[in-house]
């Protein structure tokens, strides 16, 4: 625990930079982000030793207690790594906030990291909720940083409201569990005496609460608004780590407090996860705002993680034995990998915004020439998010698919098989749509020709930002090519010895009958050999440069496919889900012989927001307005309230037994 205390001290120093005077804000910036970097580094190191077998002494002070088991260690590791990367990035990126509350940014950044680490270390319900709420507040402050913009503060407001509703659900779950135990420490809550009905309630509350924070459909609506509003390194950390912490909490509930799982819980978790994955990626492909794309992609990946987790739960409930760990391994591995690649992509988005000043990919094009390194790193990140082999995105995908195959082939019950097969199909859709989504993201922004002047003025990011992106790209590739350390760490977190056979350098899984193998190193070797051969044939090709033939005119950059156009077929294919709102208006006719000028507007409102949240909001306000009539201003009415209450209470008291 000393190590964690040391890390906390680092973050504490970072938080105290809030008190620096305005003239020293640059120093505050360096100190804060440096402290965050060191603190996260220490955390990552310590978490790694924990997974390697070290243990940690629990710490308690009054009503607070901190413990660390392997389940939290793996998330600590993830937090530490992502914290190091993003803090490094922030050293460069946050400089652009000089003069606009830079100290607040640095201080809250440290508070955010610290609170996430303390949530993971919390050893009782009180500490957990305390740091959970601090995490919410710190991230709220960070999201709200550019509060002059209307879109920013509405997003921050929506975020804090929804997260508070989620916290309310989590609190009810904790309090119900805790009141059925001797006290509120996790150890005591582990042997609670909840009866079966209450278990259902606790599950419902915990799942909805954590699903909200994790951004599962239909509770995801805050996420695509909050992420674009926040500064990029903050969105990186929120998406990369904070969502995983919700997953941590859910796992904590499932493993510790509700050890006996109902069949339908598992199905619900799995189906909700798969549906979130599908809808998330579908909306991601429709967006033009680069950070909204990434936010929806987070919804997708959290969905995949929960689907895998639900699959593991089903395996455990139905199959027994040792197989069921595969789903959990898949979920955790994917969570870990996703945090790295999502951090990378948000940092790329930040660099693009930094370089061009816009988030709209319709305005980009040909950025690869202006920002070559960013382009390279973004390409790696896009491949990872599209789950392409040899990046770490695929490792998780492979394990997820394996766990579903295992589930389906291990169960002969038709209904289970049908659920699982439907989720499997949805995951198949997800994979393919994710590919399309990131092809679009990368291709439209980095390739082709500039679509606006912004690109002409674009510039490459500074060395800190590039270093951070480079570091995470390297991690993406390393974890993709040599996934064993991650898988082993995850196995250690789940306290597995040899359940998951690891042969040589390859991942192997025998759960479904015969051995399934994935050996990325060998695959790399194969690809390298063939590539070498192909290179021999193609390195000396004769290349001639000339503009594409365009029926006698020179092609303009407006002839390129736009991002909206690129996703049109998918939009049409799923229009019953997306319900796009098109508006075509004909302008004045300028010339007798040429066509009319058109104005075309396309909007794809979030289905859930429109069908669920807006009516609820409308009714909430409507009912409130109605209820306000009870206070009409007449003193006689008010006294009659008192009188009526008195009479009623007297009657009640006379009847009370």
């Amino acid at each position: 625990m000393e190590c964690f205390l040391l890390a906390a001290a680092c973050f504490g120093v970072g938080i105290l930079t809030l008190l620096f005077p305005h003239s020293l804000q640059r120093y505050a910036h360096w100190l804060a982000n440096g402290a965050a970097l060191i603190g996260s580094g220490i955390t990552a190191y310590k978490a790694w030793t924990l997974l390697a077998g070290a243990s940690v002494v629990p710490l308690a002070w009054g009503s607070y207690s901190w413990v660390c088991d392997s389940w939290s260690a793996v998330f600590l590791l993830l937090t530490g790594i992502a914290g190091v990367i993003t803090s490094l990035y922030a050293l460069g990126y946050a400089q652009s906030y000089e003069g606009s509350r830079m100290r607040l940014l640095g201080g809250m950044w440290n508070l955010f990291l610290l609170s996430m680490i303390l949530v993971l270390l919390a050893g009782d319900a009180f500490s957990f909720l305390l740091f959970w709420e601090i995490m919410a507040v710190a991230s709220f402050m960070l999201v709200n940083h550019e509060s002059e913009k209307r879109s920013t503060w509405t997003a921050a407001y929506q975020y804090l409201v929804m997260t508070s509703v989620g916290t309310a659900a989590i609190m009810i779950a904790f309090l119900l569990t805790g009141s059925a135990s001797s006290n509120f420490s996790f150890a005591a809550m582990a042997d609670n005496k909840l009866d079966i009905l209450w278990q259902h309630v606790v599950f419902a509350c915990a799942f909805s609460g954590f699903a909200l924070k994790a951004g599962l459909v239909p509770l995801h609506v805050w996420l695509p608004n909050a992420h674009p509003a926040a500064p990029s390194h903050v969105s990186a950390l929120m998406s990369g780590v904070m969502l995983k912490i919700a997953f941590y909490g859910f796992g904590r509930f499932m493993f510790s407090f509700l050890p006996v799982w109902n069949y339908w819980w598992c199905v619900i978790v799995m189906v909700v996860g798969a549906v979130s994955a599908f809808l998330g990626v579908l909306y991601a492909q429709m967006e033009n705002d680069i950070k909204r794309i990434l936010a929806y992609s987070s919804v997708e990946n959290m969905g995949v993680i929960f689907a895998a987790f639900g699959c593991g739960m089903l395996l455990k409930v139905l199959a027994g034995g040792s197989w069921y760990y595969l789903g959990f391994v898949a979920a955790l591995v994917h969570a870990f990998n996703h945090s790295i690649m999502k951090v990378l992509m948000f940092m790329s988005a930040g660099s693009i915004m930094h370089g061009t000043g816009s988030k709209n990919i319709e305005l980009f094009g040909g950025l690869a020439k202006k920002m070559p390194y960013t382009a390279l790193f973004t390409f790696v990140g896009s491949m990872a998010l599209a789950a392409i082999p040899l990046t770490n995105g695929f490792t998780g995908e492979w394990l997820v698919l394996q766990s579903f195959i295992t589930l389906i082939s291990a169960n002969s019950a038709q209904i289970t098989r049908l659920w699982a097969a439907l989720c499997f199909v949805l995951l198949g859709f997800t994979g393919a749509l994710a590919l399309g989504c990131f092809v679009r993201l990368f291709g439209i922004s980095f390739l082709g020709r500039a679509r606006s002047e912004l690109v002409e003025h674009a510039h490459e990011s500074d060395k800190f930002m590039l270093a951070a992106m480079g570091l995470s790209s390297a991690l993406v590739l390393i974890c993709g090519i040599y996934p064993l350390p991650v898988v082993q760490a995850v196995c250690a977190a789940l306290k597995l010895d040899n359940e998951f056979a690891v042969q040589g350098f390859s991942l192997a899984w025998a759960g479904s009958g015969s051995l399934s193998v994935f050996n990325p190193l060998l695959l790399l070797l194969l690809v390298a050999v063939i590539s070498a051969a192909v290179y021999l044939f193609t390195n000396n090709i004769f290349v001639e440069q000339n503009v594409t033939w365009n029926c006698g005119t020179y092609p303009t950059e407006r002839q390129q496919y736009s991002a909206t156009g690129f996703s049109k077929p998918v939009r049409r294919a799923f229009d019953y889900l997306l319900k796009p709102k098109r508006q075509v208006s004909y302008m004045r006719k300028d010339h007798a012989y040429f066509g009319r000028q058109l104005s075309y507007k396309l909007e794809i409102p979030d289905m859930i927001t429109e069908k669920l949240y807006q009516p609820v909001q409308k009714h909430f306000v409507g009912i409130s307005t109605f209820l306000r009539r009870m206070q009409q201003g007449s003193v006689r009415l008010y006294v009659s309230y008192v009188m009526a209450t008195m009479v009623l209470v007297l009657v009640w008291g006379a009847l009370y037994k």
């Binding site: 709200n144 209307r150 909430f620």
Partner: protein, 491 residues
């Protein structure tokens, strides 16, 4: 011990009478006011330091134990804070507030403030439940004058409602006290009439039927004073129309006093009346109070009324904590009272400042505070987050403990309802807060008007709540005091 109590009770009226004479210049009055408050503050500090929480102080008229000391600390803190911030507030009020252009009667204001605090001190220090009632009624009357201080139409309207509703309620409390006295006479004779200590010792001897009847009246009566729905109707008007300094005192101190008196009475009644009846009644009122607050904070335009409704919400939580009636919940109620008083005082003060800065109390017309008035905005935001029960402010801690006590005692339905309703309150308050804080201003404020004295005072209040909240159960002295307060109540 007695000397402190006497000093405590002598200084404010002396100061008040001096202020009323009207022979002092405003500046001198300010210092007189500050010095009196500081002296009282030191006096309370010494009292607290010398006080052994396990041994209450008793004499013929006064009684001090851990419970009264704790509430005394809360009220004195607010008293000192209010007196130190009064100067800049009143100066601004004269310059650009509602009373712009009018000659502000500083002397009258200070005299009323001093009397107001004095009556609250009496509530806390007397031994006799009857006298306690008298003092509570006195606080109502004095505060009525404070509310109507400006004698504007709105202030008059608010005061009239305040007096009518509160006096009716308080009369019911008198009825309850009478019933209690009748029970005492029936069981124990006329000696030590209504002495709390005596009744506390012989609480088991009282007739259950009578104590139940008394309980009903007392809850309704003091509940009106505390602001429980549906007797709360005076509350938003009074809080909103009083000068902001007074609103803070009304919300923080007066409400704590009412709850204190309710607790004192409950201790006597519960052994015979049984806690089941009390629990179900108080929990019902608690949930109702919070529920009534929700629609009013969602659709609201007035910056001070929204704070008033948030006070209702917190009163609801405190009443729920009393309803749960376990050691933990009562302790948490003590903490909640403290945090709520501090934060609400800061918020009302800042609300007053905002009204002065923007020359409007319509929240819909205020935007971009973070950009234009950063200091005010910082306090406003921190206070908002604090009052919504978000850490690190103290209300989070007490809220959590009250809710956990509710669940532990089996009141899961009330607990769940409260948690959900609190989220509803958050939706409303945060929306209006964010509208004011963020965005771009349509009308320019007069400037960041917070003075050099107010900022540290308000910051200290907020930091206190953080420390007390975080140190709850962990700081030995605090824990000891609160434990003894709980012991007094016997939850």
């Amino acid at each position: 011990m007695l000397q402190y109590i006497l000093i405590l009770l002598c200084l404010p009226p002396v100061c008040a009478i001096l202020a009323l004479t009207g022979r002092f210049a405003n500046n001198l009055l300010h210092w007189l006011h500050r010095l009196t408050a500081t002296a009282v503050g030191i006096c309370v500090a010494l009292l607290a330091a010398k006080f052994d929480a396990a041994v209450p102080y008793v004499d013929d008229y006064f009684y001090v134990d851990a419970l009264s000391l704790w509430v005394l600390i809360i009220i004195t803190t607010l008293y000192v804070a209010a007196s130190w911030t009064a100067k800049s507030y009143l100066t601004r009020e004269e310059r650009c507030g509602v009373l712009k252009g009018e000659q502000l009667q500083t002397g009258r204001y200070f005299a009323l403030m001093q009397f107001f605090c004095w009556t609250m001190f009496i509530v806390l220090l007397v031994k006799n439940l009857g006298l306690m009632w008298v003092a509570i009624e006195a606080t109502t009357l004095i505060s009525a004058l404070l509310i109507s201080f400006k004698f504007t139409r709105a202030a008059l309207e608010a005061t009239w409602k305040y007096i009518m509703v509160c006096t009716v309620g308080i009369c019911l409390a008198l009825l309850g006290t009478l019933v209690l006295y009748y029970a005492q006479i029936a069981a124990l004779g006329t000696n030590n009439a209504l002495s709390w200590v005596f009744l506390h010792q012989h609480a088991e001897a009282l007739d259950p039927a009578l104590t139940k009847l008394a309980l009903l009246f007392l809850v309704i009566g003091y509940g009106t004073k505390a602001g429980m729905a549906p007797m709360h109707t005076w509350l938003p008007d009074a809080y909103a129309e009083a000068p902001s300094l007074t609103s803070g005192m009304l919300s923080g101190a007066l409400c704590s006093c009412a709850i204190y008196v309710l607790l004192r009475n409950l201790v006597i009644l519960l052994p015979t009346a049984g806690s089941a009846m009390m629990s179900s009644m108080l929990l019902f009122f608690a949930v109702l109070t919070v529920a009534v607050a929700v629609p009013f904070v969602v659709v609201q335009r007035d910056v001070k009324r929204i704070l008033a409704y948030s006070s209702m919400e917190n009163i609801g939580i405190m009443v729920a904590g009393i309803g749960a009636f376990s050691a933990l919940s009562i302790k948490a109620v003590m903490l909640h009272m403290y945090s709520h008083a501090m934060i609400k005082f800061v918020l009302f003060y800042i609300a007053g400042t905002i009204i002065q800065e923007y020359q409007t109390r319509n929240m819909m017309r205020i935007h971009g505070m973070i950009k234009d008035v950063p200091h005010t905005a910082t306090f406003w935001l921190t206070g908002m987050l604090g009052i919504l029960g978000l850490p690190p402010m103290g209300l989070f801690f007490s809220k959590f403990y009250i809710m956990s006590a509710l669940f532990k005692e089996g009141h899961w339905l009330a607990g769940s309802l409260l948690i959900v309703l609190l989220a509803g309150v958050l939706i409303g308050i945060l929306y209006h807060g964010m509208r004011m804080l963020c965005g771009e201003a349509h009308r320019q404020p007069l400037g960041d008007l917070l003075g050099t004295v107010d900022v540290p005072v308000l910051a200290l209040l907020l930091i206190f709540t953080c420390l007390v909240g975080a140190g709850f159960e962990n700081l030995p002295w605090l824990n000891n005091l609160l434990n003894h307060a709980v012991h007094v109540i016997g939850g």
